[in-house]
């Protein structure tokens, strides 16, 4: 069962990639927010993209083929 307020984050190689992903989310109307990477996660880039856990599939589909080197981690 997915809690209503549970999130996932997309980790990126660099901020440029994070901003690219944010644009893709906007065109697909998937709500997201760029936030500092949570302490316990390790990332090449200090900014990650948080999304609602319920939308994980949409996020993956939207980014597939458009962005290289990203990683999705559920919180």
């Amino acid at each position: 069962m997915i809690r209503e307020d549970s999130f996932g984050v997309v980790l990126f190689e660099s901020v440029s990639h994070a901003l690219r992903a944010e644009k893709i989310m906007k065109t697909e109307n998937i709500p997201c927010k760029l936030i500092p990477v949570p302490r316990r996660l390790s990332s090449d880039c200090g900014v990650c993209m948080r999304f609602s856990a319920a939308q994980r599939e949409q996020v993956e589909r939207a980014l597939a083929g458009k962005l290289e080197h990203f990683e999705i981690v559920m919180l």
Binding site: E13, S14, V15, S16, H17, A18, L19, R20, E22, K23, L34, I35, P36, V37, S42, D44, C45, G46, V47, H69
Partner: protein
């Protein structure tokens, strides 16, 4: 006295109001360091830089904005490209019309063991693509040339040369678009361009301190960076990242400048490069027509027709030195132009004006037909007086 600014080839002036507004807005309302901290102002700053990258990608028909590296000017972009790509034992081809931002790195690299061939151009600054192909060798690594001369305004046949390098398959085409980005249509893919160096502060209407280098996908693996340092990425590691654009962008960027460049480039896109080109061609034609009336008193250099040149015209007036002419025009008429060698001694050698140089007028999108007429009137006065 109001100035008539005819030195747009050096830097464009004035800028569109949107360029100035964007710079002020960034510094007053955002001010953050792009991509470094995770807070909202840092992310907003990062968005501006990204937006500018996307606008330029649209302008040059580049599909991935991350293929565009920001530099402080076209000279830095060319240095990254040439020093990064060429190794001792490589052969590189260039033309006799290049600016020192191409020639100085190439001459230095030649002193370090790179083989350099300079293909001569006509006395109007034209290059024959067949002359370039004729000097291809097995170890030719790159052809480097300007899109248009900053001395004669001659537009070079990039598309034809790109077809030659594409046919060879293993030769990189590096183009200096300092005088053409924003003024002539540039489709990097269609023209076969692998490396495109551009400046932000001329026809792209950004401020000084901005420019960039487009690197075709796959080529970055073969080009070392000029600088290494902090990128806000891979911060756990003390090695420079190997991905675009971070590999070539370290240290805090000129964010206020990139905000301005983004607005300037957006302005050009909104007007349409074709519209800009049409207006500038009209101004050029008008001035060339005026020059015809001067007959033997004014020597014109470069192509005779406006469509073969960017809006930049070099000429000499009878026995008057270029610097005397330029001073007269500035002091008596408020007409501002550039005399001398224009940082391109090679070009002046090619057209026969070395070492005295020429007077250069360079029109821009904000110049008017009245200003062109005034410039002609000033020349008439100079000749009669």
């Amino acid at each position: 006295m109001e100035v008539v600014y005819l030195d747009n080839a050096a830097t464009s002036y004035p800028k569109p109001q949107t360029t100035l507004d964007a710079m002020m807005r960034y510094q007053q309302e955002i001010g953050g360091s792009p991509g470094r901290s995770g807070h909202r102002l840092s992310i907003d700053a990062g968005r501006i830089v990204h937006e500018t990258r996307e606008t330029l990608a649209r302008l040059f028909n580049v599909d991935d904005p991350l293929r565009i590296v920001f530099t402080k000017n076209a000279t830095e972009a060319l240095n990254i490209a040439l020093s990064g790509l060429l190794k001792p034992g490589d052969h590189v081809i260039t033309t006799g019309m290049e600016h020192n931002s191409v020639m100085r790195p190439l001459r230095f690299l030649a002193s370090q063991g790179v083989d350099l061939t300079v293909v001569p151009c006509s006395d109007r600054g034209e290059i024959d693509p067949d002359d370039i192909r004729a000097v291809f060798r097995a170890n030719t690594r790159a052809v480097v040339l300007t899109h248009a001369s900053n001395v004669t305004g001659t537009i070079m046949p990039i598309q034809e040369i790109g077809a030659l390098t594409r046919t060879r398959g293993d030769i990189v085409l590096c183009v200096d678009a300092a005088q053409t980005a924003g003024a002539l249509p540039i489709d990097a893919a269609a023209m076969g361009v692998d490396l495109l160096a551009f400046t932000g502060h001329k026809s792209l209407f950004g401020p000084q301190g901005t420019g960039g280098l487009y690197i075709r996908k796959g080529l970055d693996e073969h080009i070392g960076p000029l600088m290494r340092g902090g990128t806000g990425s891979r911060s756990e590691f003390e090695e420079q990242p190997d991905f675009m654009p971070d590999k070539y962008e370290c240290g805090t960027p000129n964010t206020i400048g990139l905000a301005g460049l983004g607005a300037g480039a957006a302005y050009i896109l909104a007007q349409g490069v074709a519209t800009v080109r049409e207006k500038e061609e009209v101004l050029t034609r008008r001035f060339l027509d005026h020059l015809q009336a001067f007959d033997g008193d004014v020597t014109l250099y470069g192509p005779r027709s406006a469509q073969d040149r960017i809006p930049l015209i070099s000429f000499n007036i009878r026995d008057i030195s270029p610097s005397d002419a330029a001073l007269y025009l500035d002091e008596k008429w408020g007409i501002l132009c550039r005399p001398g060698l224009h940082c391109a001694p090679a070009a002046h050698r090619t057209i026969g004006t070395f070492p005295q140089g020429t007077v250069r007028f360079s029109f821009g999108f904000f110049n008017t037909e009245e200003q062109v007429d005034l410039a002609a009137e000033a020349l008439r006065n100079l000749l009669d007086g």
